[in-house]
Symmetry: C2
Subunit: 293 residues, 2 copies
């Protein structure tokens, strides 16, 4: 089974639990709208890829960590799209949750996804409850205070923010949680996986900045030019498009070099290269291939 099929199946299973007939039907619809169809599922696939590289010996816990990370990512998108933030109409080529189901169900749907994420982790502690507790802590660090994605988004509400702190929290923290939880789910130490997640997260954020300047809205499924419109800090604004592309290449190389020694190290390095090519506008791909091959 591909990693993508594995995560889609685990997400479907997780949502079935909460979405029974006792639940208000529009909340169910809003939550499903937030999760399906998904984007690239890059964070949960990363979590599962690391788990497989470490032996994948508690696949239920690895799946739970991956599902939780994706649900939290979806929740953050739903809340970030709200009128008080980006006021976005379109996400993944379809109306945003608040456009489709109203602002109240967008707030509540995001809340429900956060709760579900931690519930899914808690239910996966049957075999290794102490490992489960470590996974929970790593996921919470990736999403909460002081430096998870909620904190990252909150830097947008400060008069001054360091670009690196902002992007590391807003995007990097959940990538770091993904690599660390992949290892933790196998009983492996998490720290050696931190630098790999950090570099990937920063690379992903820089690619996002590049796409926002040079991407095609039809390919992205969302409008471009949002960083400038919302006066958000951006590497593309700071370094120019060429400079941002060179920095992206450097981060991809750093991520490849940061993969710890393990049986699946070669597979992971290959995966990083493949994914990096999908993250930038297609006309930039030849440069990237040359740089990170």
């Amino acid at each position: 089974m591909s990693l993508l099929m594995r995560i889609e199946s685990a997400l479907e299973h997780a949502l079935l639990n909460g979405c029974g007939p006792a639940c208000p039907p529009r909340l169910v619809a809003a939550v499903r709208h937030a999760v399906f169809p998904g984007g690239a599922r890059i964070r949960p696939q990363l979590c599962l890829a690391v788990a497989m590289a470490c032996g994948d010996e508690d696949p239920e816990l690895a799946n739970a960590a991956a599902v939780a990370i994706e649900l939290l990512h979806c929740a953050s998108l739903v809340h970030d799209d709200l009128p008080c933030f980006d006021d976005a109409d379109v996400r993944r080529g379809q109306p945003t949750v608040h456009k489709a189901w109203g602002e109240r169900l967008a707030v509540l749907g995001g809340d429900a996804l956060i709760v579900m994420a931690f519930d899914v982790i808690g239910r996966a502690g049957g075999v290794n409850p102490r490992r489960m507790a470590k996974v929970l802590a790593a996921v919470a660090a990736g999403v909460g205070m002081p430096s998870g994605i909620v904190a990252g988004q909150a830097w947008e509400c400060e008069p001054r923010a360091d670009l690196r702190d902002y992007q590391r929290a807003k995007t990097g923290a959940l990538f770091t949680a993904a690599t660390m939880c992949g290892a933790l789910s196998c009983g492996a130490p998490a720290e050696p996986w931190r630098a790999f997640g950090d570099s990937l997260g920063e690379a992903y954020q820089v690619a996002d900045d590049i796409r926002d300047v040079a991407g095609d809205p039809a390919w992205l499924g969302k409008p471009v030019g949002q960083d400038a419109e919302h006066h958000r800090p951006s590497r593309a604004a700071e370094l120019g498009l060429d400079g941002a592309v060179r920095y992206f290449e450097e981060l991809v190389r750093r991520a490849q070099a940061a993969v710890p020694d393990c049986e699946g190290a070669g597979m992971l390095r290959h995966l990083v290269r493949q994914e990096s090519l999908r993250l930038v506008p297609q006309e930039l791909v030849p440069d990237i291939v040359r740089a990170v091959a």
Copy 2:
């Protein structure tokens, strides 16, 4: 140490963890504004009271459950007060979080509190990780889908809702989580504590409906007449004020009768009676005393 002092101290400790200098300062301020000064802290005190009645033999886990329940309650208040819901200006006698810190930090602050709640539970599993997993599941059931407080709030977005389903989810579910988690933190079975929590939750909701009709805004620290203004279902609207007061008395009696046999049963029944007198407008107290003495 009183239950109230115990919960305040545990809340302060929990917030210190996330609110370090690495965190965006306005997010810290918004989160603290949501939690301090608190209301009656009735749910966490209930959780701790049940834990004490059951022997209180893992006080760290009992505290974590109580803190999580209060943080989730605070998060729900912050999000319910948002312009897209109640658009409330005042809560606990001070500006609501979105009035004080803006709508974006109210959304993010609520999200951060939900994450923190589960993080606090996860950290308290050192001695009994399997118990911790049960506490986590019970708290998630009280707050998430299909019938926790998020689902309760979502019933307000449906064209039709059963009043009992709505109130049980919106208010009752977190009371039930409080009684069950008090027991679970001591390794006691949770199910015998469900009916006690259910009755208390419903009593509290009916008292809230009564206060919204007959309360004094200065005493409550928030405006009255909100149920009618927002066309929310209410026992006071359904049964009239007298009918609602009689139903409240009946629920308090039911709660007292539902306390399971345990060393602290007498203490719990006394606590229920004391608290019930604080929940209704003072001119109604003589009737209530007569009814539930």
